[in-house]
Symmetry: C2
Subunit: 172 residues, 2 copies
């Protein structure tokens, strides 16, 4: 049996327990997307997402300012947050936030159709209505810096598209 | 009986129905706070809030980067969003977003204690634990531009700390 990781010792939470909480949050259907635009306050939106091995995908309309800004600047801060109704302590909703680089998947890309199919399978028939709307863009989000918050003094640094747990943070 | 407002006619939703949806969202316990910091991606956090006639209040720690940035720049974008489990169509979670100016209420301010009491009454005993933590700051958020989203093509411009409905938006 392997030794405890440093993050398990310092946080008092076992790796399986942290991973289970992380995976529960990754099971959310939507994420908040915040983008630094041309004003002094961020633009912000909410998008259904799907996960693949190489990242997370959103399908979202440029009628929203935050999407126009994201297409222009290519980076965003994303937040997956447990429902309030699932939060035992409202002061510490379990959540995963990460910065990400966005890459557009063109409509003529060979994987575009299969991504749309995955969205329809995950998020229902609305996708069939909007998949041909050309104001919508398919974007892959590659996570950069990621933090998982599971309560006061229970924050963890994650790494890569698998959100591997790498460290316990003293602040978040 | 007054004529229908323009926003009722164009959106197909009655004022009482829009107001009821707005008030349901304002009954959320927490908000997302996004702040433009010193990097190319926004800093973001989640905070319990209370409402008073003059604005919304959060009590939040400067151990979080978004709070340090908010104390420095004084403006944020805020998001109140219905739980996923309350959302009939995951593509359109009901939500209220607004830009806001933040003003700190000092610990020596005459209203500080009563605000802490309101937090404890609304959000439970955690407040009794953290009310003397000096890394926490009491901030009033004065809403500026606000948008209520109740589905595709169902977005409304709101005005003032009462979030009065003023217009139906063709985009949001």
């Amino acid at each position: 049996m392997p030794d405890k990781s440093a993050f398990e010792t310092s946080s008092g939470l076992s790796r399986p327990k942290i991973e289970a909480a992380r995976d529960r949050i990754l099971g959310m259907k939507t994420m908040v997307v915040a983008v630094s635009g041309n004003t002094d306050t961020p633009e912000i939106g909410v998008s259904p997402f799907i996960r693949r091995e190489d990242g997370l995908y959103i399908y979202t309309s440029h009628l929203s300012q935050h999407v126009r800004d994201l297409l222009a600047c290519g980076v965003a801060t994303c937040l997956l947050c447990a429902d309030e109704s699932d939060s035992q302590n409202i002061w510490a909703r379990n959540r995963l936030k990460f910065t990400a680089t966005a890459t557009e998947i063109g409509r003529d890309d060979t994987i575009f159709a299969s991504l749309c199919d995955d969205f329809a399978a995950t998020h229902g028939p609305t996708m069939d209505l909007i998949r041909n709307f050309t104001d919508f863009h398919m974007l892959r989000l590659d996570p950069d810096t990621a933090v998982l918050v599971l309560g006061f003094a229970k924050a963890f640094r994650l790494s890569g598209p698998d959100f591997e747990i790498v460290a316990h943070l003293s602040e978040a």
